[in-house]
């Protein structure tokens, strides 16, 4: 059988369901291996607090009944929603500049939710006109196989257990928390902030700090200034963002590039920060801004930056950021994970 032309076939069914005489041409999702795939869970993308309460208190059957009863009511946006909207804005710009390229973001809804919730999720995606055409609703089964099948570059979920499982399988993942207050974030520029140690870098230096204290840490970092740190779970995602940034630079759009990255680290500019910058340089990577806080709280700085998402391995920083209005995501990696992670909703209850 001749392989159908995927591009047109995808929008073909749409003409029928849209009932339009001149159907709007929807772009085709890229092939997974070419794209930067962001897998997002249903509770990270949408607010399902009320439904989650019903599930926890009344069980699966009542939860599913409720979802079906409210099928035509779209969910309210969840913590990852602004991030996903900003990602789509980047895609729009990329398609304008490179109409035939498949080097784009691809957002996949990746949820262990039951397919009974499927229609409500699809209705919600339609309501906000999100460009999400791919989804896996696994009815309770593990997501790991699907994350790998989609070559997921990043997995965002509200469920810390799933995120931990993904990290252990080598997939870049983070637990997304809702901010304590709403912050206006830019619509036309995607801003992503990263902690350094145990996020972009390995946790090797953090181990030294925890075992031997601050002085030993400084000593060690100075002595090894020119030895690049090993990479951490989100290095690949920064790299992917960098590749897309290059595409804008190539078209003369460095100044108003719709992607901006930030390093927000407790290291200090004068000393331990050097090793961080040298490591990034050795990898051929950079962040647009590097903020060395020398141990000061990250919340106020992030409030100024207004990123769509901030990744950190320590709950202390995640909570601090969320309190001041930043969508913060916990990366459960490295030595800082000794204490049991709180769930997203516990944090929300603490903040509000």
């Amino acid at each position: 059988m001749n392989k159908p032309l995927m591009k047109e076939m995808h929008t073909f069914g749409e003409q029928e369901t849209c009932n339009q005489s001149s159907p709007s041409k929807k772009p085709t999702p890229p092939k997974p291996q070419n794209a930067i795939t962001i897998a997002v869970s249903s509770r990270a993308l949408f607010n399902m607090d009320r439904e989650q309460d019903i599930y926890e208190q009344q069980g699966m059957e009542d939860y599913l009944k409720y979802q079906i009863q409210h099928e035509i009511e779209p969910f309210a946006p969840g913590p990852a929603f602004p991030f996903i909207k900003a990602v789509e804005a980047v895609n729009t710009r990329l398609r304008e500049l490179y109409p035939d390229s498949e080097e784009l973001f691809d957002v996949v809804l990746m949820t262990s939710n039951h397919a009974h919730v499927g229609l409500r999720l699809i209705n919600s995606i339609n309501h906000y006109q999100l460009f999400i055409e791919r989804f896996c609703m696994t009815g309770g089964n593990s997501l790991i196989g699907y994350l790998k099948a989609y070559h997921a570059n990043l997995y965002l979920s509200a469920d810390s257990l799933k995120v931990r499982e993904a990290i252990e399988e080598g997939i870049a993942a983070a637990t997304v928390f809702s901010p304590g207050k709403i912050t206006e974030v830019p619509e036309t520029q995607l801003r992503v902030a990263f902690d350094g140690d145990a996020v972009l870098f390995s946790d090797e230096s953090e181990r030294i700090y925890k075992a031997h204290g601050l002085d030993k840490f400084f000593e060690h970092e100075k002595a090894h200034e020119n030895k690049p740190l090993d990479h951490g779970p989100l290095k690949g995602f920064l790299e992917a963002l960098g590749k897309l940034q290059q595409k804008f630079y190539a078209k003369g759009q460095r100044l108003d590039c719709p992607i901006r990255t930030y390093l927000v680290t407790a290291r200090s500019a004068a000393s331990s920060g050097t090793r961080a910058l040298k490591t990034l340089r050795s990898w051929g990577l950079e962040t647009d801004e590097a903020l060395f806080l020398a141990g000061a709280p990250k919340g106020p700085m992030l409030e100024k930056i207004r990123p769509h998402i901030f990744f950190d391995d320590q709950m202390f920083h995640v909570e601090g950021a969320a309190e001041l209005g930043t969508v913060a995501a916990h990366v459960p990696y490295g030595i800082a994970q000794k204490v049991q992670s709180k769930t997203a909703r516990d944090v929300k209850k603490d903040i509000l």
Binding site: E61, A115, G118
Partner: protein
Amino acid sequence: MEDKKNYTGPLMIALQYNDLFDLDSISTSTDTDALPNGRAFTFIKAVQTVNERLVEQNKSDCLLFEVILISKECSEEIKMKVDESVKHYGLEIGKFFFCKKEELINTLQSNKVKLFLSTERDDVYEALHTGIPAALLYDQADDHVLNQLKVIFSGDVIGFSEDSLDGLSEFGFSETQIETIKTAKICMKEFAVLIGQMRRRFGQENSPLCTCVLTSWGSRNVCASALKTLREWGLDVDEAFCLAGAPCSPILAVVKPHILWDGGLLNMS
């Protein structure tokens, strides 16, 4: 329009014996041994689990699976080995039919088979083309351990409108292929209705039967249309996948279905 209440059990499924047993590795010297397992083995075990659970709930349930074996052509020796092997593994096979290749379709029709399951795509599509409900027996690894029967319905076959399906000729599908796809949708219905009834006998969790929709080409709205249609037929599926043109094989390798209703539409690259 057939009233779905007229659909009753048993749910008869026909298998080919060369899917049940692995005949390629037969050696004539060991003729006392049973035939080695084939690709349909985990399927049969899963079907038996569902039946056991159905009977557990209701001893006189008549909506059960029934499996019959069909063979296209084989020697007397093989016939005997098949018979012995079925007994050896304790498989619950209702009937055996040994017929010529040309008689396959007639045999299926006269036995009112509700599903013909085969790993041979050509056999499946030929059967569909004559109006016999047929689906692919997914070729999965033997170590598939779940005691759960998994069925995938194609969201494209169910969700695309009649006009959309006609328009597939623009994409290189032949008339025959398009007719096969349309027939698949009609044939699927009775099977889906019965599976829906079976599924409702179990709760959301710990069910020995798991149903899925997989939309390979269509958009999310095509998938939504498929979900709604299946619901009208009495089946609310457990899992749903929408690929929007992404390769199917990696996803199927994770879902690991037994029964795959694709009607010839799947993107298997």
